[in-house]
């Protein structure tokens, strides 16, 4: 339960983070993860309880492929200390994989012009049965196909006949032309 809460807070934090970053472009908690740093993924360890109220589905809205290939390395090559509170080095930063109970979560944040411009999931829980349904709720992947005429005999056909509304619209437009 704690781990699930952590996962939600994690995702919700980034949701709140990206939203506030776009709005304020400044005072942020996220620090780029220099090499060798202790991996605790929660940046400052301090997450507002109210952040947990943001539904996990808020996060998928932020999932976007950051420009360029997702980094396979867990940290940028050189250490990039924070220049000042609110100032962040432009670049792509990958968080450590975090155990979200249903699987691993790994997030990549892109900073440009000193603000987070993109947050992307590099890995998200997808192996546990429950986590599959959580992700499916957020963005179900439905099967698609190109239609093609079938040769089979059928008993009856279901199709869209002209609806009453369409019929009336057509009639009205004809009457409008008739008046002109």
């Amino acid at each position: 339960m704690k781990k699930m809460l952590l996962a939600f807070l994690l995702i919700a934090f980034f949701a709140l983070y990206a939203v506030s970053a776009r709005a304020h472009g400044g005072d942020l908690l996220l620090l780029p993860l220099p090499a060798g740093r202790d991996p605790g993924f929660t940046p400052a360890g301090m997450v507002q309880p109210s952040v947990a109220a943001i539904a996990p589905t808020a996060a998928p809205g932020l999932v976007s492929v950051a420009a360029g290939e997702p980094s396979a390395t867990p940290a940028p090559a050189e250490s990039t200390p924070v220049a000042a509170v609110g100032q962040y080095r432009d670049g792509t930063y990958v968080g450590q994989s975090a155990d979200a109970f249903y699987g691993l979560v790994q997030v990549q944040a892109v900073v440009s012009n000193g603000a987070v411009s993109d947050v992307a999931f590099l890995d998200y829980p997808h192996t546990h049965g429950t986590s599959v349904s959580i992700n499916s709720y957020a963005a179900p992947m439905l099967v698609q196909e190109a239609i093609s005429a079938q040769g089979a005999d059928v008993d009856v056909v279901s199709g869209a006949t002209l609806t009453s509304l369409a019929f009336r619209q057509s009639l009205e437009s004809a009457l409008v032309r008739a008046k002109a």
Partner: protein
Amino acid sequence: MGMPVVVEISGGSAGAMLFERVFSYLEYVDRKFSVFKQDSETTRINRGEISMEDCSGDMSEILALAERTKLESNGYFDIVTPSGSIDPSGIVKGWAIRRAADILSQAGVANYYVYAGGDIQTRGEKGPNRPWTVGIQHPFDPKRVVKVVKLRGEGIATSGCYARGNHIYNPLEPGAPASELVSITVIGPDVYEADRFATPAFAMGNSGIDFIDGVPGLEGYAIDRNGTATMTRGFGKYVDAT
């Protein structure tokens, strides 16, 4: 109902009277609800001659069901037209076909379908171990089908607009964009459920199939203007059924 009606009964025998009762019932529904009939109850309500509080039992039921469907479809189903009049045809058809099917069931008929205006209520089977086979109409080639599903008691409804080529002008909403889908077919536990959700799902465009996917008990097959079909996660069971 101002549209073709077909009833097929399999196995057993049914007298002409029973078919007549089904057709008569659907004619009654058409007389009462059609917006194209000058003296239908719908038209009289729209002319202000009857208030909704004083309307008939069937109309009251339709109005209540429409209100519930509007809530369940996040407002995408609405029998109130832009001009303020009501047009309940998006829910009456499925409701009436199911009622018509009940006439057959109550008369002891176990295997049949009732088809009206592109929507179908099935019951039982076409033959021993042989489900009813229903084709989904090809949106660009009316004499062909694009998919075959096997039903044993489910209802199926298709909502859409096949007109292509010339832009579809809507005199009621001149600025409205053309629909993203050409059709969406919904399979449900009965044709009333299928029909009342197919109507708003079509209006939702590309999101409609996600909406259907999220409603327990419904499966769907949406076709867009490019001929790409998207199906709900459980739709395949009706394709693969034997």
